[in-house]
């Protein structure tokens, strides 16, 4: 059996009891089980919070919810790469497995971070369809299957913020809005009703922290757990922003 070869799983976790504290590393050695992932390993630690050298410790704080890689909660750095912990299978990771919180967001505790900046950005770019109301107004606009096939992938963004974590331009200096929000602009500008807010969205992406901060490093598209064509969205929106700026220049 495979179990005989790998009886234990060694995990090192970067911990911090509060944002004010300096981080420290704790090492754990857990009994191996088939089908383990990083979340189930942390559940095992919670049921028996003892470090490798036998010291009693506290369960790990981390964000999680669906454990199916669709709620976007459990993004963290696993062996240095930004990943969803629920789909990080232990057997596919090199040991000792090093786990750290995302580095670009304020740490709350241990591996839990504050990613509310993305939701604020979605507000800024008005990522919604401005419907008249919820009363019965009949069916929506017809759309071709090919249009649906183009837009459906964009609507699968889980707001995990991995694209922002891996982006060299996403930092305090630039205030860059990030690929996720830009891709939502591409989605809503392409919707027949959503297009009503197209100009406002494009204006929101001009100026400081806007789309021009993108340096085309393409880390986002390579790291996205949902394989969303983020760079394609960025080029589409970028072209529209330029056209809009040109138009603004001649109409103001």
């Amino acid at each position: 059996m495979v179990g005989d070869k790998k009886k234990t799983v060694e995990i090192h976790i970067k911990r911090r009891t509060s944002p004010k504290e300096e981080p420290r590393w704790e090492e754990f050695s857990l009994p191996w089980k088939p089908g383990m992932n990083v979340i189930s390993a942390m559940m095992d630690i919670a049921a028996n919070p003892v470090t490798q050298d036998g010291k009693t410790t506290t369960p790990i704080a981390y964000d999680s919810n669906c454990l199916e890689e669709i709620c976007g909660s459990c993004a963290m750095l696993i062996n240095g790469k930004a990943k969803m912990a629920c789909s990080a299978l232990i057997d596919k990771l090199e040991q000792p497995i090093k786990i750290e919180p995302l580095s670009k967001f304020p740490v709350v505790r241990d591996l839990a971070v504050d990613r509310s900046v993305l939701f604020e950005n979605l507000k800024k770019v008005k990522a919604w369809v401005p419907v008249d109301g919820t009363y019965d107004l009949g069916s929506g606009p017809r759309q071709t299957p090919s249009k649906q096939e183009q837009n459906y992938p964009l609507s699968r963004c889980i707001s995990c913020t991995i694209c922002m974590e891996v982006c060299p331009q996403f930092n305090e200096d630039t205030g860059f809005v990030g690929a996720a929000a830009i891709s939502q602009v591409a989605l809503f500008n392409d919707h027949p009703t959503g297009a009503a807010l197209k100009e406002e969205r494009l204006h929101a992406l001009m100026g400081d922290g806007g789309i021009h901060e993108c340096g085309y490093a393409q880390n986002c598209v390579h790291s996205c757990p949902k394989e969303i064509p983020l760079t394609k969205s960025i080029s589409r929106v970028s072209g529209d922003v330029m056209k809009q700026a040109f138009k603004d220049f001649f109409t103001t």
């Binding site: 506290t58 369960p59 199916e68 709350v108 019965d136």
Partner: protein, 593 residues
């Protein structure tokens, strides 16, 4: 009069639907959620949403949808609200379409519909295999719009602890805890809507998300709200067993032609590919020729159990059967099912386009819940409930793709009803002492828990609860085991008093928060176990081999549980079911209905 102030707890489909209706009517909403609302459990729904739009020329009607839902629920649901839901469903789909949901389309650009369990019609609209995610996002976006306009204030990373009730036991607000600072605070409101989802965590591993503990419902039950049909728990026939949870394999896999089978020969060691067609047993197709692989969930679940445990034909002797899509071409699978196939691939490591999936039934949905009247009002004045946390729409078994419609419809009903109630509410004349009293009560619970100095680990207690509930309280139920289960829960409640929190800190203390939820899970688990023990019949998801038939004479009744605080245990009463629209008839899927 001042604008009505409504609190909504829970930011899944039901909660967000309620928020939108309230904000649209000019009310102000405080929205509380444990997780950012965009991360709510509704995102996990895969297959679709039902509405009899009849776009496939099959002559489908909302009356037929209503009949399928009542029949699928084995006649336990009160019929009038179910009829209203089915009648409202087509307009709900239209609205979601207008909000920009990326529903799959026909070549003409219309919404596409697929078949789902328990019906013979193409009635399920879908957005790839991530319909719940797409629907939740559409509502989340509309709520964000109202938030930007100042109508909605979000309290994310807050946990509901209890309702604030005045001297007349009328709801005046809530008591909640900030999950980071651990601050306990009260918030005033004129009406409260609870939309906190299912209770999967009571069963340890389930297809539910981590936050689906039922803690809020249990807190309200312990404050006097009645709980309806707690014993009805849906076990989904096709889940993927995992170390941390059971992951759902959507019914849409069968809706698109997936076939369930096992090797006919016991202990067959051959690779699936080398087993010829004639040596495979497609037991659902054989037993239920009319519905085939698309029988309702409870029927499919029991069939798989039977094949594995009575015929001893599980793959490799393990409790698993094949769900096979390999006969369908890759392009079709990618177009219609990519999202769910990706889940299997990611979490198991095999590609279901090439290899049949291995699946087994898992706890999936809570049919029972807070008892509500036809206006979504609980038995505590001022408290409404919507979505999976209430009991109203699915009877003894929920049909696939009916949950999304019931969540949205429930929220759309609860929102305006709460506003109406709030506008007619007599302002509290008395002092506000009940706010301080409730806050003090919750803070005392917290300080007892944090200073508790025993030896019990809360996560291990939880595993014991989950194992007991899954073994005795899911697919097959015996009275002896149910009584043992209740005794076990009482034992766990006793051991809970000797809990030891290895973490005593006052910042984002997850084991502390979990322990509070665990206590509420234990109290609610007794409602499930005792409710099941009392119902000596088989109906929908509730199956007792010792009482294999449905017994309308004695049990065509809603189970209503309420908490006897003095005795610290549930009490029960029965309520007649409103069957005024469709006369109950035997439920059979081996023949036309």
């Amino acid at each position: 009069m001042a604008k009505p102030k409504i609190i909504v707890v829970g930011g899944g489909l039901a909660g967000l639907s309620a928020v939108i209706k309230i904000a649209e009517s000019g009310g102000d909403v405080d929205l509380f959620s444990i997780v950012p609302v965009k991360r709510s459990h509704s995102v996990c729904a895969q297959g679709g949403i039902n509405a009899a739009k009849n776009l496939k020329g099959e002559g489908d009607t909302t009356a037929q949808h209503f009949d399928d839902t009542i029949y699928g629920g084995d006649f336990l649901a009160n019929q009038p609200p179910v009829k209203e839901m089915c009648d409202a469903a087509p307009a709900i789909i239209d609205l979601l379409d207008r909000m920009g949901v990326t529903f799959n389309r026909t070549p003409e650009g219309l919404l596409d519909f697929r078949r789902f369990g328990g019906t013979l019609y193409h009635r399920t609209a879908f957005a790839g295999a991530t319909t719940g995610q797409q629907l939740l996002y559409a509502l989340d976006e509309q709520v964000r719009r109202y938030e930007a306009e100042g109508h909605v204030t979000k309290y994310e990373h807050w946990e509901f602890l209890s309702a604030v009730l005045d001297g007349g036991r009328v709801c005046r607000g809530i008591c909640a805890m900030n999950l980071r600072t651990m601050e306990v605070r009260t918030f005033a409101c004129d009406a409260l809507i609870i939309a906190t989802g299912g209770i999967g965590a009571i069963f340890g591993k389930s297809t539910n998300s981590v936050v689906c503990t039922g803690s809020a419902q249990s807190a309200l039950y312990q404050q006097g709200a009645h709980y309806g049909n707690g014993e009805f728990i849906q076990v989904h026939p096709t889940s993927i067993p995992g170390e941390d949870k059971l992951r759902l394999m959507s019914e849409s896999a069968r809706g698109e032609g997936g076939r369930v089978w096992v090797p006919k020969q016991k202990g067959d060691k051959r690779d699936w590919k080398s087993i010829p067609e004639s040596e495979r047993w497609y037991f659902l197709e054989e037993w239920y020729p009319k519905y085939g692989n698309l029988v309702p969930r409870d029927v499919a679940t029991r069939a798989i159990h039977k094949v594995v445990y009575e015929h001893d034909l599980g793959i490799d002797g393990q409790p698993m059967v094949y769900l096979d899509l390999t006969h369908i071409d890759r392009a079709t699978l990618n177009r219609k099912l990519e999202g769910i196939l990706e889940i299997y691939e990611k979490f198991v490591g095999d590609d279901p386009r090439d290899v049949p999936m291995k699946i087994f039934p898992g706890m999936h949905y809570t049919m029972g819940g807070l008892w509500v009247d036809f206006k979504q009002a609980t038995t505590i004045p001022g408290i409404f409930a919507a979505g999976e946390c209430e009991y109203q729409y699915h009877g003894a078994n929920r049909l696939g793709a009916n949950s999304l419609v019931s969540c949205i419809y429930g929220g759309f009903s609860a929102g305006p009803e709460a506003v109406k109630y709030a506008k007619g509410l007599q302002r509290s004349a008395a002092s506000n002492g009940h706010f301080d009293a409730e806050k003090k009560r919750q803070e005392e619970i917290n300080s007892r828990l944090i200073s508790s100095d025993g030896s019990e680990n809360p996560f291990r207690l939880w595993r014991e609860l989950g194992e007991t509930m899954t073994r005795n309280c899911t697919v097959i139920r015996y009275n002896k085991n149910l009584q043992d289960t209740d005794a076990k829960i009482v034992e766990l409640l006793r051991r809970f008093q000797k809990i030891n929190l290895s973490d005593k800190s006052a910042w984002a203390n997850t084991s502390f928060i979990f322990s509070r939820q665990l206590y509420n899970m234990l109290q609610l688990a007794r409602v499930v176990a005792q409710g099941a023990a009392r119902r000596d019949e088989s109906r929908g998801a509730h199956y007792k081999p010792d009482f294999p038939e449905r017994d309308d004479a004695n049990f065509l009744k809603t189970t209503k549980a309420y908490f006897a605080a003095d005795a610290d245990e549930p009490r029960f009463e029965w309520e007649t079911v409103d069957t005024s629209l469709i006369k109950p008839r035997p439920r059979r899927y081996d023949a036309a209905k």
